[in-house]
Structures are given as structure tokens and as C-alpha cells.
């Protein structure tokens, strides 16, 4: 028997294949597409205290081997999540990580407090790629000192594992990884989307109404893998690798680079059952390779 179990803080996952926030709805949309118990965990769409409508349309477009989105963090809000979604999610037996964000430190802390109190939320993933209204629209995730302070403040109100999700739109991701570790975060997830842009040449207008959006999908995999590797070499807490994963091979690259688990994002749109498929393939791969415990694959990259 292969042991695919991995640990994120105090939480044990049955396997390291998870779905990424914003690409898996509230899990329920996938209930008829795969067995939610067969994947390590799923991450909800980013939640805020209040319901949000998001940005104007158009807010997605396709790019070579990728896509840009500027959804604007549209979500049902904490109340509706707790009362309408969570009870239904609970029935599926899924492991649930709640992704959340705020516009001020207080909103972050308050959101975390709410999620901490919800039965059926197994871990929290804090998205810091949001404009900080108090700091004049600069992202929370763009200043290590501030990130450490935010992590500490949130960690104070939660016992559940706190994962902090890093932005790749920085010159060097390592100080941010350290900030999370120093702030007491239980794990890091990386990366969120790369800031990108696309133009419709015919109309000479941006393809995304808000001009900029986040690039995701296979195109970003090399950048994501590099940043995940850098994080893994910087901190001791677990790192969850995200960015462009489309195959077992891609997932293994992240694990070998040092990730404890991975999240699959954009490819859920293209192949809704991909998380379950790759979890299955991972198990078969371990058998074929004589790997009895997946944690021995983590960080097994050999540098000559």
C-alpha cells in the first residue's frame, strides 16, 4: 500500500492533490463530476465578510497556454457560505479549505474568526494578493513586514491550520515566505496569478475590462515552479505548489521541488475531473516507482 497522506499543520490530507481557489466554486459544482473524498482537499472561492459582485465584464480571456481573469473576487459572502453552501458541502465528505481576503487588517481578522468558528471548514487559506485600501491600494502581499504583521494578527484568532497564499508579482518571493513563517503561518501556498494583459486588436480595447488581470494556466508553470522551489529552500513550514499544473508529471515536478502538496487551478475548467484523475495516477506512479510514502518524493530533486 502506498501512503499518500500529507500534513498541512495539524490537518492530514489523504493525498497531496487539491483544487485551487476560484477554480472550484464552492465544491458543490463538482459533486457530479468527481468524488470529492478522493482528492486531498478543495479550496473555496475567495470569501469576504460581505457578498461581492466583482468586476465588470469581460473579465476573462484566453492567452497562449493560459488565461487572464479579473473576476474581482466575486463571492457569496460569509453568511451565505455558512448557511447555504457549507451544510451541502459537509454532506459530500470533502476536506474544505476556505480561501478568504479583506481590504483591511480588521476584515482579514474578522473573516478568519468567522471561518474558525465554522464546523466543516478544515483549514484557512489567506489570499494576500488583494489591494489594501488602508495602504492606498498596494497589495497586502507586497511588503514582507506588513505580511508578517497580518499573519500574526490572523493567527492569533485561529487554531485551524492557516495557509498564506503568496503573490508572484514580487522581485523575490523568499522574504515573503519567511514573513509567513515568522508570523506563525502553518503553511505557504504559491503562486497566485501573474499580472498580465491582452488587447483585442480589432476594437483596440483591452480584452479585460479592467485592463489588467491575473495570468494562470500551463503558461506560468516554469515561473511558479521556480518560486515554489525558492520558497521550499527558504522556510521549514510546508509549501503547497500552485501554477499551471495539467498532468501528473507537472504535479510531480512541484513535489520534487519541495512542495508538500499541490493545487490545480485553471485546468479544472478544461477537465473537471482532473484532480481525481491525477490523484489516481499519483498512486499508480508510486507503485510503479516503488515509492511507499509520498513524503519521500517531496524535495527529492537532485542538483548536480
Amino acid at each position: 500500500m502506498v501512503n499518500l497522506k500529507v500534513r498541512i499543520g495539524s490537518l492530514e490530507l489523504s493525498n497531496p492533490i487539491m483544487s485551487a481557489s476560484g477554480t472550484f466554486g464552492y465544491g458543490l459544482e463538482f459533486a457530479d463530476k468527481l468524488d470529492l473524498k478522493k482528492i486531498g482537499a478543495f479550496v473555496t472561492k475567495g470569501l469576504s465578510l460581505k457578498k461581492r459582485l466583482g468586476n465588470q465584464m469581460p473579465r476573462i480571456c484566453e492567452t497562449p497556454a493560459g488565461m487572464i481573469n479579473s473576476i474581482g473576487l466575486e463571492n457569496v459572502g460569509m453568511d451565505a457560505f455558512e448557511t447555504e453552501k457549507l451544510p451541502l458541502i459537509h454532506k459530500t465528505g470533502a476536506v474544505v479549505m476556505a480561501n478568504f481576503f479583506g481590504e483591511t487588517e480588521e476584515e482579514y481578522v474578522e473573516s478568519a474568526r468567522r471561518l474558525e468558528a465554522m464546523d466543516g471548514v478544515h483549514a484557512l487559506e489567506m489570499n494576500v494578493s488583494c489591494p489594501n485600501v488602508e495602504k492606498g491600494g498596494i497589495e497586502f502581499g507586497s511588503d514582507p513586514a506588513f505580511l508578517e504583521k497580518l499573519t500574526k494578527a490572523v493567527k492569533k484568532v485561529v487554531k485551524k491550520p492557516l495557509i498564506v497564499k503568496l503573490s508572484p508579482n514580487v522581485a523575490d518571493i523568499r522574504p515573503f515566505a519567511s514573513a509567513v513563517e515568522n508570523g506563525g503561518g502553518d503553511a505557504i501556498s504559491a503562486i497566485n496569478t501573474l499580472k498580465g494583459m491582452s488587447i483585442d486588436v480589432k476594437s483596440r480595447t483591452p480584452k479585460i475590462k479592467r485592463v489588467f488581470g491575473g495570468l494562470s494556466g500551463p503558461a506560468i508553470k516554469p515561473v511558479a515552479l521556480r518560486m515554489v522551489y525558492e520558497c521550499c529552500n527558504t522556510v521549514k513550514i510546508p509549501v503547497i505548489g500552485i501554477g499551471g499544473i495539467a498532468s501528473l508529471n507537472d504535479a510531480l515536478e512541484f513535489l520534487m521541488a519541495g512542495a508538500t502538496a499541490v493545487q490545480i487551478g485553471t485546468m479544472n475548467f478544461v477537465e473537471p475531473e482532473i484532480c481525481q484523475r491525477i490523484a489516481g495516477e499519483l498512486s499508480a506512479w508510486c507503485v510503479a516507482e516503488g515509492v511507499s510514502d509520498i513524503t519521500t518524493v517531496t524535495g527529492s530533486l537532485k542538483i548536480a
Binding site: 476560484g22 477554480t23 472550484f24 466554486g25 459544482e29 463538482f30 463530476k33 472561492k45 459582485l53 466583482g54 465584464m57 469581460p58 473579465r59 476573462i60 480571456c61 484566453e62 497562449p64 497556454a65 493560459g66 488565461m67 481573469n69 473576476i71 466575486e74 494556466g217 500551463p218 503558461a219 495539467a246 485553471t266 479544472n268 475548467f269 478544461v270 477537465e271 473537471p272
Partner: protein
């Protein structure tokens, strides 16, 4: 589903009709499928295509070549395999009582009506608008067929809304109208519905990331708030969309 292509033939000058295997008959006119045209990651996303027919283990779509994805799709051969998910969305739902339907269509907007025709015994009065005669050829026999072209090369010269407004049924307050086509056309038809107090349904198009409600890329603003074209649509009640 990885159905085998059974046929891929031209339909008029601009379109191709592609038939492929499909295991069941469970779909409503107005619903769509999502097609992955390649195993590679470029193009990456699935393409939405209305169901143009479904019977006897065979589904049909009508495809207009617009960009990379539809170009690849249209060049597939009989015997090749497709990668299709769905059906998705909510189809047309004209009242049971209605015996005649005014169906306004432009371009590949005809596709869902071909399916509707095959499933319904109501009288279908079709209004087809195109820029020129190259847009024609996709229409099979509806019960009544009215054409308009912008350049006047076929049918009445002008917009499809002109021939719609000229039709006697438009004054029948019990008429029911369905529309599928370019945004401009839908908007104009919607205004007619509101002005003439005619009930109707419009099938919308938006760029789609997933097709099943999770990317939130296909929103449309309605008087009941943001709706996902892929789940709450693509068919919406006339008079409810905020253009």
C-alpha cells in the same frame, strides 16, 4: 465524453455541420456543450457550441470559424474523436399553450432552432438576418421563413428586426418570441419585446472559461442581479437583461 465524429460537412458558405456520437437524448434546445479541440494546451479552454440536433445516438453542432479554436474544430475529419462535456445551461421554455413561435436568428444563432424544430410540433416562424447572402445556407425548412440581409442580396434589405416588426404576428400579444444571435440583434429584439409587450426568451453569448458555473467569467447583469450565462442561462427572459 470522447465521441467519434460521424460527419463534418459544409453548411452554406460560412458554417460547418458536425455530427458526432452521443449516448442519450437528454438535452433541451438552447442548451450547449463545451468542446475541447486539442489535447495540447493551446488553445487551452473549451469552446461553447449550441446543440443543433440530438437524436438516435447522434448530436449535431453548427460551427462558424471565428478564430483558432473553431478553425481546428472545423478541420476535424469523420472518424476523429472529439472531447465534449455537457449539455450545460438552461434551454428555451416557451409556454405549453403557445402554438406558434417567432424565432429570430442571426449567424450560427440558427443552431438551437434547428434542434427546437426537431423537438417541437409548434409552428415556427423564422426570421433570419445576415450581412449578406454568404451568411445563409444554414436554415432548413422552418414552417415560415423570412430573410433579411443588410446589403439586400437576399430577402428584404435591412435588419432582421424590420421584417420582424412587419410580420402580423408581432401585433398578437399572445405571440411568443425566441432569439439567438449577435448581441446587437438580441438587444434590439429585447427592446421590441418590451415595447410591444411580447413575451420572449433570448439566448445570450459570453466568453466562457468553464461552462458549468465555477469561473464566474460569463456573468450578465439582470434585474435579479448577476447571473452566470452558463448555468442560469444562456436563455434569459426578455426584459430582464441589463444591456
Amino acid at each position: 465524453m470522447k465521441p467519434k465524429i460521424l460527419r463534418n460537412v459544409p453548411m452554406g458558405k460560412r458554417y460547418r455541420m458536425i455530427d458526432f456520437e452521443w449516448p442519450d437524448d437528454n438535452a433541451q434546445p438552447g442548451q450547449f456543450v463545451m468542446i475541447r479541440v486539442t489535447d495540447s494546451v493551446d488553445p487551452l479552454l473549451r469552446r461553447p457550441m449550441s446543440i443543433a440536433g440530438l437524436a438516435n445516438g447522434r448530436m449535431s453542432i453548427v460551427c462558424a470559424v471565428l478564430g483558432k479554436g473553431t478553425a481546428i474544430l472545423s478541420e476535424k475529419s469523420e472518424g476523429d474523436f472529439l472531447d465534449v462535456t455537457g449539455p450545460y445551461g438552461v434551454g428555451f421554455n416557451p409556454p405549453e399553450s403557445e402554438t406558434a413561435l417567432l424565432c429570430v436568428m442571426g449567424g450560427v444563432g440558427t443552431a438551437p432552432f434547428l434542434f427546437l424544430k426537431s423537438r417541437s410540433n409548434k409552428k415556427i416562424i423564422a426570421f433570419y438576418g445576415a450581412a449578406d447572402k454568404d451568411g445563409l445556407g444554414i436554415q432548413t425548412k422552418f414552417d415560415e421563413m423570412h430573410f433579411s440581409t443588410v446589403d439586400g442580396s437576399v430577402g428584404t434589405k435591412g435588419l432582421v428586426t424590420d421584417i420582424l416588426l412587419a410580420h402580423p404576428e408581432i401585433k398578437n400579444k399572445n405571440a411568443f418570441l425566441l432569439a439567438c444571435g449577435p448581441k446587437g440583434m438580441l438587444k434590439a429584439v429585447d427592446q421590441i419585446c418590451v415595447r410591444e409587450k411580447i413575451q420572449g426568451e433570448l439566448s445570450l453569448e459570453e466568453r466562457m472559461g468553464c461552462g458549468f458555473g465555477v469561473c464566474l467569467g460569463c456573468m450578465v447583469e439582470t434585474d435579479e442581479g448577476n447571473k452566470r450565462v452558463c448555468v442560469e442561462g444562456p436563455v434569459f427572459k426578455a426584459g430582464t437583461v441589463k444591456w
